[in-house]
């Protein structure tokens, strides 16, 4: 009994502490995954960008909240008529957090380092079109491309292309030194990463003095942390089932935005049964997207009919191509010789959209006679078995990179999809600069993927932000993997 009283007193004391309201110029964000390190040029993990992109590190261009390309460390640029030569004017007076000046030599170093043979940059493809990079003077950089690249300025805004200094590049993983409005403060592994305002910032100073990113992979405890006030904002809340709870709570607002995450039922196009387009189409007919969105995502997400984000201007709605039709699915399966049933493996990575979505899909496939054996795996195994050795039949994953339809043109990407028609369209697209022509090609590319029923196209992940009332200037959408807090302030 004594211990219980003691416990109650203890709990009450804890409550008193967290109840205090300070003059707010600090922000605590919850993030689902802890970054393995903090160097965005040395790893693909989205979690790295979600902490440091734009806050600590900046690139030549930056991506705005609406996905537009804005000037970053380059204040302006010109592009030659043939689309091959880009000339950037750099900003004056920019300094890294350690006091060293930023100039064209740093640009040469950063891009050269990323392109080098022994570079561990995860997006070397972004740099692949670069033929030559020169610095005529300290404030100018000229980049010459091998061929016109429609997305080059957007690509320069990726976290993998941020500017680093030769003096600090090697220690950026644990002590990131960039040019951004926040400097790195402290990292308690497994718990939180703290940033503080960079008072020597070249541009408008950030309004927040301190920003903390708390690592909260578990939905239940993130919800609790929001409720108890330990966290102010969860930009991308992982448990859609709890959103109703927050909508009903006057302290919070739920901000539903868009992400670049096409969630798909990936199929191994060379596995025995799935190499038959009739089987792939049967699966497309067997899938009930709305039931998946309702059952696994509690209504959160937008159905997609191809590998493309619905909020993109060039999006074509193809969700009607394979309506949910079990009879049709069974007929197609019978036609393909699987009237008596078909057994497939469904390999599921850890996120709940995959695990829950997988349960729903397995049940939907069972209804048309496809027995999907659920194999849950960790990311490491998924990368090896599914992504690398393509030893799988079906898997569910969200492709969160922006404008990534080009993966279907890659040789031996894990779908094992090969289409001359698609490759031609994509090749034309990369070289096209005329907006109308680009839009038409993008639409065609989407149609080809849907017609070939390469994968089961499920839904676009929504960005479900849970924000404490009064916070402004955060991004509702996620055009790129980032939690840009540079403009955030409390009302």
């Amino acid at each position: 009994m004594k211990t219980k009283l003691f416990a109650a007193a203890f709990l009450a004391a804890g409550l008193g502490m967290s109840g205090q309201v300070a003059a707010k110029d600090t922000l605590t964000l919850g993030i689902g995954l802890e970054p393995p390190h903090l160097d965005p040029t040395g790893g693909a993990a989205a979690a790295i960008d979600e902490v440091v992109y734009q806050n600590v590190f900046e690139g030549l261009t930056r991506i705005g909240p609406d996905g537009a390309v804005l000037p970053g460390l380059a204040k302006s640029w010109t592009v030659s008529d043939d689309g091959l030569t880009y000339s950037f004017k750099l900003r004056d007076g920019v300094r890294f957090h350690d006091g060293t000046a930023f100039d064209s030599a740093d640009v040469l170093f950063s891009i050269g380092r990323a392109m080098a043979e022994d570079s561990t940059n995860a997006q070397k493809g972004l740099f692949e079109p670069i033929a030559k990079i020169e610095a005529p003077d300290a404030a100018t950089v000229t980049i010459t491309l091998k061929r016109p690249t429609g997305h080059f300025l957007f690509n320069l805004g990726w976290g993998d292309v941020v500017m680093v200094a030769p003096e600090s590049a090697d220690t950026n993983k644990t002590k990131p030194v960039g040019t951004g409005p926040f400097t790195f403060d402290r990292w308690s592994k497994g718990a939180e990463i703290r940033l503080k305002r960079n008072d020597a910032y070249w541009g408008a100073a950030a309004k927040l003095s301190k920003v903390s990113f708390k690592v909260m992979p578990d939905a239940a405890s993130s919800a609790a942390a929001l409720m108890s006030g330990d966290i102010d904002v969860f930009p991308n809340f992982g448990a859609p089932e709890l959103l109703e709870q927050f909508r009903a709570d006057p302290r919070f607002e739920v901000v539903v935005g868009t992400t670049e995450g096409e969630t798909i039922l990936s199929m191994n196009n060379t596995s025995k049964a799935l190499s038959d387009i009739r089987v792939r189409r049967a699966i497309a007919h067997a899938i009930d997207r709305q039931a998946i969105i309702d059952g696994a995502m509690f209504g959160s997400g937008t159905p997609i009919g191809s590998h493309f984000a619905p909020h993109h201007p060039a999006y074509v709605d193809l969700t009607g191509m394979y309506p949910h039709d079990m009879a049709k699915a069974k007929a197609l399966l019978a036609e393909a010789g699987y009237a008596s049933g078909l057994k497939l493996r469904l390999t599921l990575p850890p996120p709940s959209y995959a695990r829950r979505g997988g349960e729903v899909i397995a049940a939907q496939l069972a209804a048309v006679g496809i027995e999907a054996e659920i194999i849950p795996v960790e990311w490491a195994q998924w990368l090896k078995q599914v992504f690398k050795t393509t030893d799988y039949d079906l898997t569910i994953v969200s492709h969160t990179e922006p404008f990534d339809i080009g993966i279907y043109a890659r040789d031996s990407y894990y779908f094992n999809y090969k289409s001359e028609r698609f490759n031609q369209i994509y090749a034309d697209l990369t070289e096209a600069v005329d907006p109308a022509k680009r839009k038409a090609l993008i639409g065609e590319a989407q149609k080809v993927l849907a017609e070939d029923s390469v994968n089961g196209f499920l839904f676009e992940l929504a960005q479900n932000g849970v924000w404490k009332k009064g916070i402004k200037g955060l991004w509702a959408n996620r055009p790129i993997q980032a939690n840009d807090v540079t403009a955030a302030y409390w009302e």
């Binding site: 211990t3 995860a122 308690s188 497994g190 239940a220 490491a380």
Partner: protein
Amino acid sequence: MLEFVVRRLTTLAATLAVAALIVFLVMEVLPGDPAEVMLGLNAQPDTLAALRAQMGLDRPAPERFVSWVLAFLSGDLGISYTYDVPVSELIGERMVVTLPLALMAILFSTLIALPSGVLSAMFRGRPADTIIMGIAQLGVAVPNFWFAILLILLFAVTLGWTSAGGFPGFEDGILPALGALLLPAIALALPQAAILARVTRSSVIDVLGEDYIRTARAKGLPGGTVLWRHAVRNALAAPLTIMGLQFSFLLAGTVIIENVFYLPGLGRLIFQAIAQRDLIVVKDIVVLLVAIVITVNFIVDILYAWADPRLRNGGGNV
């Protein structure tokens, strides 16, 4: 006695060596390449090769085993693949969560179990005994992670007194940090307390039936003195052994409990490390935990000899 200690120490070292080998071999067959995990989905092959060489994954297994053991003995636990910091630093950071948690759990467990066990023995067969032992039966049966969820349901969801998880860290003061460990420690302590109470009860009952207690009573010593001075102290041997065993349960129990409350402790670290294929961290922690368990059992053996008068006098037939 010295010979006994030396022999036990030799066994201890041998057990550790075998354990290290087993853990290493088990880790070797783990599917998944840590370099790939670190670089993610769109990694290029040359990037992977570069990182693999950087991490020493291209060397043969026996060479890696030997260098790991040698480094481990000299206190160098290696560099974590995922965090790129020394593992010892990582373990140190997590220990400040797990160690207070385990200690609090042991403390709660002992505080609850010893008095109720003794009480139960004193009132053997009477209602107090029945109630205490009934609760203990229940305590053994309730899974600690479910109990944890019930605690969250009551204190965090319904009453809103405490947060349902997370750890504020010690920088913001010791009280909030310990407060965050309170529910987890209670959840961990309950099943252990139940077991401990039962062992204490039967041990005290056994001792109360011994000849020397009856003699003490016959000599006219007051009941309380007999109970506390003679019976309880002599009855401590069995609970002590159980506490030693419980230590390994507690350490393992933190894996689940730290997951329920999302505490950045050792248990969470190893769970994450397995998922992220951070092999060095997994190997180091398991071997460390095995070492702790063996050492604690070794200490308990010696304490046992101290607590049991028959063993201390070199007599007895156990």
